[in-house]
């Protein structure tokens, strides 16, 4: 995995699976977890799988057998309800055992529906109360700099979180403190609890706003693996001492055509028999 050598090389050197393979397995793991509960944020997991594939299998430095390894890049899941997606990625990365996905959301599981630091190895923060992750990220970036660490802090958050004032406070603070070790990714799936995000509280024009706040900003199709990989690469090597934002436009339910087409909802309904169909659809999409 990541860097069996000295922790300085990206995963891809040792991983022979393609990123598309990784994304497929992340989606598959997520669908299997969704089936355990018969519900869940499966449409979000499917939309963000490509970003997580690039994060965990191209960009980030970590040791799966030692999730607390000091030299790791940090990954903060601000949108805690996306935990199903992160568990799926961490299972694929070997940080969590695959058979544990059977326990997703069950009593006494290490994989609760809403991600929490005390429950799950590799989970760096407790989410659930949205709009918090970037604040922690600012502190982590400051702390890593104080320690002389070259690790990055990756933070995933959601377009709904753009509504929270705390997010913009952190965006200002990160620029003020010139946090060039911060790479934030915002999932623009244009969905939140009450409906399409742009209708609930319009945040556009987002790139211009973030640039005006002093960030290095890239907006990409979050379901185009090449584009996402290039954006992560560019974020890492960017020369200016400023924080980096990847605005990822994604499609809810991506990879399972009947979920892509379903009426869009924060909490999508999936019938009992559809989980198997979803796995089949993923498999079929893989061949093409």
């Amino acid at each position: 995995m990541a860097d069996a050598t000295d922790g300085m090389l990206p995963n891809r050197t040792l991983a022979n699976k393609t990123l598309a393979d990784r994304a497929y397995h992340i989606r598959r793991n997520a669908v299997r977890m969704g089936e355990v509960q018969g519900q869940g944020y499966i449409a979000q997991a499917l939309d963000i799988a490509d970003v997580l594939a690039v994060a965990y299998f191209h960009a980030m430095r970590y040791r799966p057998e030692d999730p607390d390894w000091e030299g790791r890049d940090r990954f903060l899941l601000s949108n805690g309800h996306y935990a199903i997606a992160l568990y799926a990625a961490m299972i694929e990365a070997g940080i969590l055992p695959e058979d544990e996905l059977e326990t997703y959301g069950c009593d006494d599981s290490r994989l609760p529906m809403s991600g929490m630091a005390q429950y799950t190895p590799g989970m760096e923060m407790s989410g659930g109360s949205l709009g918090v992750g970037l604040a922690i990220a600012v502190g982590k970036c400051l702390g890593l700099k104080r320690k002389g660490s070259d690790s990055f802090v990756y933070t995933l958050f959601s377009d709904g979180e753009l509504d929270e004032g705390s997010v913009w406070e952190a965006i200002m603070a990160a620029a003020h403190h010139r946090l060039d070790n911060l790479i934030a990714i915002v999932d623009i799936n244009n969905m939140q609890a009450d409906g399409p995000s742009t209708q609930v509280s319009n945040f556009e024009p987002l790139v211009e706003k973030l640039e005006a706040f002093g960030w290095f900003v890239q907006r990409v199709d979050g379901n185009d693996l090449d584009a996402v990989r290039e954006a992560f690469d560019a974020a890492k090597v960017h020369m200016e001492p400023v924080p980096r934002m990847i605005v990822a436009d994604t499609l809810l339910g991506k990879g399972v055509p009947f979920l892509e087409a379903r009426e869009k909802n924060h909490f999508i309904r999936v019938d009992a028999h559809e989980w198997a169909l979803a796995l089949e659809a993923l498999e079929a999409g893989r061949d093409t």
Binding site: C106, S109, M116, A117, Q118, Y119, S129, V200
Partner: protein, 337 residues
């Protein structure tokens, strides 16, 4: 803190789901009413043009979407931004409107506390704060479990605090708090809400505690969901010839201490305060303080959530684990007698 150990789930055993967004506190077969808050608000709003609805991206999850659909021009979607939700509610109230502002109990009490304290309570604005997922009614863990909301809002001067028991009481409380001038925090049960008080011919009165049923051995003083559980426990314990009276106190503040004291002073009953709330700062401590100040000294016990971050999991599991299920209440009362 160290990660928990992997779970030992038995293969083939039916799994209990976490049930947070779709939390149902209705027992199987229990009669329910859909969205009692939303429908009741529509009714009062027809007669009172000053009423407006506001939410922070949770209209569907607080039953306010019913109001939004009926009165789209009187509904404000503030986005997932609880601080501006309550700040703006204060502003609307200062211009003569009566905002009903909804979110989850955790986000009103924790995220927006200062905004509510300063702009609503201190300015004494006519804002009705109506919040879903009160106490332990979500399986998502501490982020969604508002174990301390009553303590926080009780501690605010000017604030009236209501913890209704069921769909009937919510329907009756909505016009009552609309008619009351001043800030109100009301806990909300949403979705298909159980009916429990109808069989007792109950009628909500703001500021009043009421005996729902009488009993010779135990007096349960309770609010909200725990009144429903206490009534169920009382029926169970009746089979063992244990007489349980239930004194329901939906208005947590101002508390009807006269009625509570009068009932508690009646000879020899075990007094149990039961609340869907942390043991710190809620109904139990309010009642105990009043007893001490007034020399009322019954045998006193407290059913409440422990002072710890509660687990994630299925609600029935958690209610049993923390001693607030019907079965746990029965067991505990028997042990105390």
């Amino acid at each position: 803190m160290k990660p928990k150990t992997p779970s030992q789930t038995t293969p083939g055993k039916p799994r209990l789901t976490t049930s947070a967004m779709i939390a149902s506190i209705a027992a199987e077969g229990q009669p329910t009413k859909p969205a009692p808050f939303g429908h009741a608000l529509v009714e009062v709003a027809r007669k009172d043009a000053a009423i407006v609805g506001m939410t922070a991206d949770l209209s569907k999850y607080t039953d306010l979407h019913i109001f939004a659909k009926e009165f789209p021009n009187r509904f404000y979607q503030m986005g997932m931004a609880e601080q501006i939700l309550f700040g703006a509610a204060s502003g609307l109230a200062s211009e003569g409107f009566t905002p009903f502002a909804t979110t989850y109990a955790v986000f009103a009490s924790r995220r927006a506390y200062d905004f509510i304290h300063q702009t609503i309570a201190e300015e004494d604005r006519n804002v009705k704060i109506v919040c879903a997922l009160p106490g332990l009614t979500s399986g998502y863990g501490p982020s969604h479990q508002a174990a301390e909301d009553l303590a926080l809002f009780r501690a605010m001067p000017n604030m009236t605090v209501i913890d209704p028991c069921d769909a009937l009481e919510i329907e009756q409380a909505v016009p009552a708090i609309a008619a009351h001038k001043g800030p109100v925090y009301m806990r909300l049960l949403r979705g298909n809400v159980p009916l429990a008080l109808d069989e007792y011919g109950y009628k909500f009165q703001l500021g009043k505690a009421q005996i729902i049923r009488d009993g010779a051995d135990v007096l349960v003083i309770s609010s909200g969901l725990l009144t429903m559980r206490a009534l169920e426990a009382a029926k169970e314990l009746e089979k063992d010839r244990i007489g349980v009276a239930v004194l329901h106190c939906p208005t947590i503040k101002p508390l009807d201490v006269e009625t509570i004291r009068r009932e508690a002073a009646k000879s020899g009953r075990l007094v149990v305060v039961a609340e869907n709330h942390t043991e710190i700062g809620g109904l139990g401590e309010a009642v105990a303080r009043d007893f001490l100040l007034n020399g009322v000294a019954p045998k006193f016990r407290h059913i409440a959530l422990p002072d710890q971050f509660l687990d994630a999991g299925a609600l029935p599991t958690l209610h049993e684990r923390y001693g607030i299920s019907r079965e746990a209440i029965c067991r505990r009362i028997k042990a105390w007698l």
